[in-house]
Amino acid sequence: MIIIRGVRHGIIDIPSCAIPEGHTAVIGPNGSGKSTLLRIIAGLEEPVRGCITIGEQSPGESAVGWVHEVPGQNSLFTRVRDEITSPLRFRHLSCDEITSRAAEVAAQTGISSLMDRELATLSGGEQVLVALATAMISKPDILVLDEWDSHLDAPSSAMLQNQLNTGGVRTILQCTQNMDLAASADTIVFLTKGRVKATGTPLDVFGKCIDTCYYPPSWRWREWNLRSKG
């Protein structure tokens, strides 16, 4: 469980919020503080006021995998294989273990054929996949994904979301502008102007925005299909 108490930082002003384990989607308009909230939870920034705990630990003490909204922003190496294996190399794991884990995570993210490419020659979407594989290779307790899906085509993002949901990571926290993807989460946190406007299950939260463009398009289609078939 992630507990947020009295956090003020930049635009973020959250008196209290509890995010359960599982898959949580953070949604909201541009500039509402989604990325700022994720950065604080990932331990990349210390809140000016208040505190966040992840279980019994602070964010800095937790094993967090982070994917930046601008892929390549956190890259350290030029070759895909070096980038992906770097978290394990820094921990001095054996070569065999690193090789086997890299092959596994590359297959999961569909980038086995890119391992010997230079990062600079990859498309934006491919760079996201590399960042995701790098974040996943050390099997973090929490995976924080800052709008990773916006650079991906629909089949790739659906396939990867499925991999993530079944990949054994206890807590996945992601912000997205894809409401269909958000609707597949266990919990939604809807931010506006740095505050939590609504939180709960997708049904709870989206049920209150049925007349807005935040309502998941796939839900509209499902309802339309039911109506049109009588």
């Binding site: 989604k34 089949p155 807005t212």
Partner: protein, 232 residues
């Protein structure tokens, strides 16, 4: 005006990205999987990448502009206002377009990614261009922002607009559809007939076609109208 690709190829690792065909006036949607070659085509169309093979001909095109997939990489101003000036457009109008009135003195890197994307699109779309290349314009925008950008793009129909995007739900009305098959760009045709040949078509369009109704176009209004036709 016409932008013609003749037997163009670019080598990327173990494969080639191949493009042949002419982009004409109107909105040309380019669809494709991750890594298929959309940004490569965008870069070649904008003239910032030379092909390894073949040739590109610009007929009647005097001015062109590329909106980058990642606007962070194209920043030149140290304030939002300076960034707007660098495009040679009026700051107050453009800031209002981008919903950033009153934030002209802010560091552009202090904006959220969605805000920065909208700012860069407002700058690009504030001026007329013969050729306008938009690489991933909807990425990071919220649904309201996407709808607004659709309206801006639709006002540029007299230019050659090349719109490379993964967006599935909020799209402008388009004139022509192109799609990557593996790494070869294929002209699917003019809309609406081309929609039936669109492999990566949004679920809504595929559902409508499977039920015997071809939407007139790809905008939200067109999809709703086609759905109403079925419901009667």
């Amino acid at each position: 005006m016409e932008l013609a690709f003749e037997g163009v190829s670019v080598t990327r690792g173990s494969y080639d990205i191949r493009v042949s065909g002419s982009f004409c006036q109107g909105i040309n949607l380019v669809s494709g999987r991750v890594g298929s070659g959309k940004s490569t085509v965008a870069a070649m169309a904008a003239g910032i990448l030379s092909p390894d093979g073949g040739s590109i001909h610009r007929k009647g095109i005097s001015t062109s502009m590329l909106s980058f997939q990642f606007p962070e990489s194209g920043l030149t101003g140290s304030t939002v206002k300076e960034e707007v000036y660098s495009y040679g457009v009026h700051d107050a109008d453009t800031l209002a377009m981008a919903d950033l009135s009153g934030r002209g003195e802010d560091d552009p890197l202090s904006l959220s990614r969605g805000e920065l994307k909208k700012l860069s699109l407002a700058c690009v779309l504030s001026r007329p261009w013969d050729l306008l290349v938009l690489d991933g314009p909807f990425e990071a925008l919220d649904c309201r922002g996407k709808r607004e950008v659709c309206r801006w793009i639709e006002h540029r129909r007299s230019s050659i607009v090349i719109l490379c995007t993964h967006e599935q739900h909020i799209l402008p009305r388009i004139d022509a559809l192109w799609e990557f098959q593996e790494h070869t760009l294929v002209f699917r045709g003019l809309v609406p007939e081309a929609l039936a040949r669109w492999d990566l078509a949004p679920t809504s369009i595929k559902t409508l076609i499977s039920r015997g109704t071809l939407p007139f176009n790809v905008s939200e209004d067109d999809i709703r109208e086609a759905a109403c036709r079925i419901q009667g």
